[in-house]
């Protein structure tokens, strides 16, 4: 899914954060963080919530849109934030499943779900009225706003979710720049239809097997769209499989001023404690393993040590 798993920063001191420009809203463990940012920071707080399923819509043969009624007291979120869902009260599957927030309104929390295993299957089969235990809002960094400039979003598979949240959020905030979405999927079964067309200036679709839309991967499609001047932009945002994001960074990112990506990872705690979802970053003082869940999920893609990231 869009967001990813968790890990713990080596230190919680603000000066150790790899990029203060990303709009960090809180520090993991802020309650007892005694660093320079002081006590609990204003903004996002985490909590456990019982959320009721308010809708379950089929978006494609493989993907569903799950609508949860927003629980009382559920914190606000920004693009790149995620939640972690306990899909049943048993221990099979064991762990919570992390999902990027596709949208959060005053009344609803929307998640995009593709069945890839037992956890996502149980979530995809949720009935209206079912209740699930949701940990949120999680994540330490969010996508920086394009601030009026034209933006290109690349969402691979359900990596589409945070792209939609970003587009909707910035539109609500009055952002006026053009927004182009390239949505890639393996096959037409996983390709998502027209439900998000109104969120972007224009939407382009591709499938790896050529069964619908552009015949090929989303990165090649973006290259051709840039080459023939169909679209342009200064900000690049992405979320999707590591191979796609890596190709974006290595092949296309030089055409943009910046490339921010929300990484996907397997996570256990989601709050930076267990250190299970680390990503290698190139930082000023050398290579560092950072937690996707709490140091991300949003990273400057140029800082990721792609040669060591799968």
């Amino acid at each position: 899914m869009g967001a990813c798993l968790q890990t713990v920063p080596v230190s919680f001191r603000a000066e150790d954060r790899y990029d203060q420009s990303l709009g960090r809203l809180f520090l993991p463990g802020s309650m007892i963080d005694r660093g320079v940012e002081g006590d609990r920071l204003a903004g996002i707080e985490k909590g456990l919530f019982s959320a009721e399923v308010a809708g379950n819509e089929k978006l494609s043969p493989a993907c569903r849109l799950i609508r949860f009624a927003r629980p009382e007291g559920f914190p606000d979120a920004k693009p790149g934030h995620f939640v972690s869902v306990r899909v049943n009260s048993f221990s099979v599957p064991l762990l919570r499943r992390p999902y990027s927030i596709m949208d959060l309104t005053e009344t609803e929390l929307l998640l995009l779900v593709k069945v890839v295993g037992p956890g996502s299957r149980l979530l995809a089969e949720a009935a209206v009225g079912d209740r699930m235990d949701i940990a949120g809002v999680l994540g330490g960094t969010v996508f920086p706003s394009p601030a009026g400039e034209d933006a290109v979003f690349v969402g691979g598979g359900t990596g589409l979710a945070p792209m939609i949240f970003a587009a909707r959020t910035w539109k609500r905030e009055g952002n006026t720049g053009n927004s182009y979405l390239i949505h890639g999927a393996a096959t037409s079964e996983e390709l998502l239809g027209t439900f998000c067309e109104s969120d972007f200036t224009k939407v382009f679709r591709s499938t790896m097997d050529g069964s619908e839309g552009y015949d090929g991967d989303a990165v090649s499609y973006l290259q051709s769209l840039l080459n023939d001047d169909t679209i342009s932009g200064s900000k690049l945002y992405s979320c999707g499989p590591a191979g796609m994001v890596k190709a974006l960074e290595l092949k296309v990112s030089t055409r943009f001023d910046s490339h921010y990506t929300s990484l996907e990872a397997v996570m256990a705690c989601g709050v930076g404690a267990c250190r299970g979802c680390t990503v290698p970053l190139r930082e000023e003082d050398g290579r560092k393993l950072r937690a996707v869940c709490s140091d991300g999920t949003v990273f400057d893609a140029s800082q990721i040590a792609w040669e060591d990231w799968e």
């Binding site: 713990v8 456990l48 404690a273 250190r275 560092k288 060591d308």
Partner: protein, 300 residues
């Protein structure tokens, strides 16, 4: 213990309000879970294992869910003694949280320096020696499978950390964990924690390679509970010092079983990921109905 009685527990000379702790590892330094768990209500928190020097941990995949379990190859990533004793530990203490400090060493020299740092920190009344991590090349399980090494490590900790209770956390990846427990007791350990993770592995059938770069990883979660319960039963029959049961607690009932096997306290690890309030549920049950008496009359 009666329903109306205290559920305090004493390890060495150290008293805890209740016998329910967070296990070392999953919950980090505790602070990360402050929004999900009432940390002050817990008997204590065994902090993420600290080594003298900071450790970056293992590269590549670190987690793999299994049926009823979780394989991890984190590799003792930690902030090192300086940051831990200087920042993390004071933070816990200032917030009224009871830390049990988990220590590990890669070699004897590092171990001595770590103990000296711990002794200098001054605010530590209880430590848990992680003599059993399977995810590192040196120290950890490489030390903890040899009773003579356990004796040496525990004995040195007792020498250096005078007045501090010392718990030895043992690995189940041996023929008889009772022998390890006996070695720890004879060297002066105040308690035994059992068990650490069980060695396992997984294979990525598409990539045709092991999931973890180190091939082997540590299995935790409900799948290992019966193994942990048997280990606690066996150790209780082997030593006279308190035994702390850990490994796969997935419900209040699992915790009660550890007490019936003779454990003096329990730790919750992997369950904190999916049922963060389980430790508090266990405490509530113990407060209501007391700590179950041991049914362990031997038979190991």
């Amino acid at each position: 213990m009666s329903a109306s009685g205290s559920i305090k527990v004493t390890i060495g000379d150290v008293s805890f309000d209740n016998p329910v702790f967070l296990a070392s590892g999953p919950a980090g330094y505790g602070e990360e879970y402050a929004d999900f768990v009432d940390l002050q209500r817990l008997g204590g928190i065994v902090t993420k294992t600290v080594t003298y020097e900071p450790k970056a941990g293992n590269p590549g995949t670190r987690l793999q869910e299994t049926r009823g379990g979780l394989l991890n190859s984190v590799g003792l990533e930690n902030v090192g003694a300086g940051v831990f004793f200087g920042e993390k530990l004071p933070g816990l203490l200032d917030n009224g949280i009871r830390p049990i400090v988990s220590l590990a060493a890669e070699d004897w020299d590092g171990y001595r320096r770590l103990l000296d740092a711990a002794a200098g920190a001054g605010e530590i009344d209880i430590v848990e020696l992680n003599l059993s991590c399977p995810n590192v090349d040196r120290g950890g399980m490489a030390v903890g499978t040899d009773p003579r090494m356990i004796s040496r490590y525990v004995g040195h900790a007792k020498d250096i950390l005078s007045g501090t209770a010392v718990i030895a956390k043992l690995t189940p990846n041996v023929q008889d964990i009772g022998r390890l427990a006996l070695a720890a007791e004879e060297a002066g350990a105040d308690a035994i924690t059992a068990i650490n993770t069980i060695v396992g592995m997984d294979i990525d059938i598409h990539a045709k390679r092991p999931v973890f770069k180190r091939i082997r990883a540590g299995l935790s979660g409900p799948a290992i509970f019966p193994v942990a319960l048997e280990a606690v039963w066996r150790i209780v029959n082997t030593v006279d010092i308190p035994v702390i049961g850990v490994g796969g607690i997935d419900s209040v009932d699992d915790a009660l079983k550890f007490f019936m096997a003779g454990a003096a306290a329990v730790q919750v690890g992997t369950a904190i990921f999916y049922d963060s309030r389980l430790p508090e549920k266990i405490i509530t049950e113990l407060e209501k109905n007391g700590i179950p008496a041991s049914i362990n009359r031997g038979g190991a």
